[in-house]
Symmetry: D2
Subunit: 146 residues, 4 copies
């Protein structure tokens, strides 16, 4: 089963067309990714072996299939594809579950690269995904067929 993150659409996310502004779907995907990472016992922003690890995105895309509106109940499914040594690609399915009938509002993907952050000057360099996190991720991928 993919990981599922649930939320209610906030008022501020809508625009004058009466629907959720499309840029917010990327925040929804990220929030679901971060909740998924927390469910594995990690944070996407933490210290590993004395390095601050971050996950800047190298690519993101979304296909919008049905609008979301204020107070819709939404579920975002997250699946991690088989991770590479320094990057992970996540797949997302954003579903409106209420008011019904349930529809897929959007599908998307996001690729994030694992970097060590130099906090003094903001420099970033790609590093191998920490082994313990990679192991938890791989376990999850296997269990979900992701």
């Amino acid at each position: 089963m993919p990981f599922v993150h649930r939320f209610t659409v906030p008022f501020a996310d809508t625009d004058l067309a009466g629907i959720v502004h499309f840029a917010n779907y990327f925040r929804y995907m990220e929030n679901a990714e971060h909740a998924f990472v927390r469910s594995l016992g990690y944070s996407i922003h933490q210290e590993h072996d004395g390095l601050w690890i971050g996950w800047p995105r190298v690519a993101a895309e979304c296909r919008f299939e049905a609008p979301l509106r204020f107070e819709d109940e939404v579920e975002v499914e997250v699946t991690a594809r088989a991770p590479r040594r320094k990057s992970v690609t996540y797949e997302f399915r954003i579903r409106r579950v209420s008011p019904g009938p349930e529809v897929v509002a959007a599908t998307g993907t996001m690729t994030a690269v694992c970097v060590a952050l130099e906090r003094e000057n903001g420099a970033m360099r790609a590093v191998p995904i920490p082994a313990d996190f990679l192991a938890r991720l791989a376990e999850r991928v296997n269990s979900t067929g992701g």
Copy 2:
């Protein structure tokens, strides 16, 4: 020459990694699209022949190549691909021009479909792009080789 939209990165667009949050790149692309449409004498949200016209997105993607930071000077190039009857695809190149040297921070595309909006109930249906706007867009595409 592609249309170019310029701005300075606002503080609120950065995140704790010290760089612009990736979801904001989609707002940057949209702001450039809208400035481009204004440069043609139109607005992306206006009445044509008694219908309210809107342009919801059906797809958007971005490849992130270099980070943007607070107070960077940025230029977004917009090129319209040959428009279809009811939709347009825009291509974007986001460049950091200061502090130098100039780099491409991201490239992306966005496809928007022309809809008539029922303002009372928020319903939307795809309609042909208004002829006068389509003519201005085609003219611009031809002059830019877009």
Copy 3:
């Protein structure tokens, strides 16, 4: 007891100083207000007697006492002051509950006026708060000493 709305601080709400950007506290207050209104069986954006009702703000203020950071667990307490005929003032207390010890991160108020919205042209005019909603609100104020 005041109504309490809980959430986890999203990554995108932080800024380069590593803390939640102050403008987001106003969204947090609004989200809590809207959850409170839903808890009374209403929506802040709905039809009453053939009018679309909205609640634009006439004033908002916030005093920031302690920073919030990514993944903090937050509770927002909402109290409605005795409502007036066409407007309501809400008081908010934003508390960080994890990681501990618990602290008050901010306190604020927001005054919203009840308006009828003309959806065709966006015009708004102040109207009396619908009687049934006012009754539920007053009941809640009395039970909380708000």
Copy 4:
């Protein structure tokens, strides 16, 4: 004369009521503050004598007088009140200048405290405003009667 910052209202800043969402007014005030500080030859986020200086807000408030809409042309006037040793209060007047007639959309204030940031752990402590910046600010306050 107060410092004036100009911009065009972006689409993403509107909400389903067809007007700019109120939380964005606080970003507008901040953008104007930062442009004002740049006009003095400084940045609100920079190194002074080996310390990273930041300006977290301790209070912000806004009174909303007229709505702003998509593509409105807006001017934000910034006035610094006589600065204190470790904090500054800015006053803002947000005016819609087009489409006319010109109206005051909102007025607000923001108080920011000068802190030294420990970038490794995010700790902040209030410090005296750097003398050179304080001098430029005081000069500006005197010349504007602010």
